[in-house]
Subunit: 211 residues, 2 copies
């Protein structure tokens, strides 16, 4: 197991023909709009979506429960080449062919965090970034129930080759504030879906509209 | 002004070379990871980001206030070619060169909804879909203060050619439930950021963890 650690560095960025891409393709969509006008739209699509699953990815909104510690959530920090930055996200992963969202969530959560979890709810299918891509996902809420003797350090991960994922456990009472602090750090960016969920909680607790 | 309305239909989908794309490009990123291994990643990037702004887009989390009606939020429904579906989103738009997030938010909100708004907060920069793209955005919370005599119908929009955007006003008390209902409709998908914000509010109000 390699322990050498250094800051990731981008060495080259080049145009990629769709024919040579393995994961992502660029498509031109020609369509006729609501008033009968022929138009085009440029779309990035994942090549990996299973026709059976119909959904690209799951993200695991998670609550870590312990008898004597406050409810918390586990966030993952990893270098993301598309942004050349470290991102703060909930654990997430692509859904395998023939896999249900709940199954993918439990499998990916175990791989990325080391924890066994139980699913408490599964969201409808959501569009990741509707103006640019057909990528979609489901938010699966999960719960980890620890025992009194379980320590604060998460168990061993089972990462794939090339995955370097740091885990942090944040008390839910500090969730939103910690994301705002992370966003101020150098070379660090919070993922939009995670931030929006935390912002929703923050809004519910602080808004002056009586909502 | 054209009034003819029909269901949009996709007539052709074809591979798009990055050299011919105007809005989106496909790139191969070569990088050296944390343990010194050379790796590659496939990335979709927007060609339109202003170097000055450093952010692609803003979304407007909005609260519509009226003296005698409950606080509400305005959602936009539009056909999105990448998904071949109607999406439910908060109003959003690309940031122009030299424009601050607050300015883009007020301008785009007026164009898409017809309403003047005031900005109440601006989020940190967030990554739209970190595994696939460098696209980023800021959530700008805005407020619309209506007068007693203002009706329930929003004012005229100022849409660009080809934009067909339907507006619906949803009481905040029904926000989450209405999104879940929309997601069940045919050819309709809720945008992930919007859903996550509403799910955060829902979580804050209903969770059994005392959070």
């Amino acid at each position: 197991m390699s322990v050498k650690t250094q800051e990731p560095v981008i060495t080259r960025v080049s145009d990629l023909p769709t024919s040579e891409a393995r994961w992502v393709a660029l498509k031109k969509v020609e369509y006729v709009d609501q008033v009968g006008t022929a138009r085009t739209w440029e779309v990035a699509v994942r090549k990996t979506r299973s026709a059976k699953a119909g959904v690209d990815a799951v993200a695991m909104g998670n609550i870590i429960l312990h008898p004597s510690r406050p409810p918390a959530t586990l966030l993952v920090i990893q270098y993301r080449p598309p942004l050349d930055a470290y991102t703060i996200e909930w654990p997430a992963g692509l859904v395998d062919a023939g896999e249900a969202a709940e199954e993918a969530a439990v499998r990916e959560f175990k791989e990325e965090t080391g924890y066994d979890c139980s699913v408490t709810s599964v969201s409808p299918i959501q569009a990741a970034d509707p103006g640019m891509t057909n990528a979609n996902m489901q938010l699966v809420m999960v719960e980890v129930q620890l025992k009194e003797e379980d320590g604060e350090e998460p168990p061993l991960q089972r990462l794939e080759d090339g995955e370097h994922i740091q885990r942090v456990i944040v008390p839910m009472s500090e969730f939103y504030d910690r994301l705002v602090e992370y966003a101020k750090q150098d070379r660090t960016i919070v993922a939009a879906k995670l931030f929006h969920f935390a912002a929703g909680i923050h809004f519910a607790k602080t808004n002056r509209y009586g909502i």
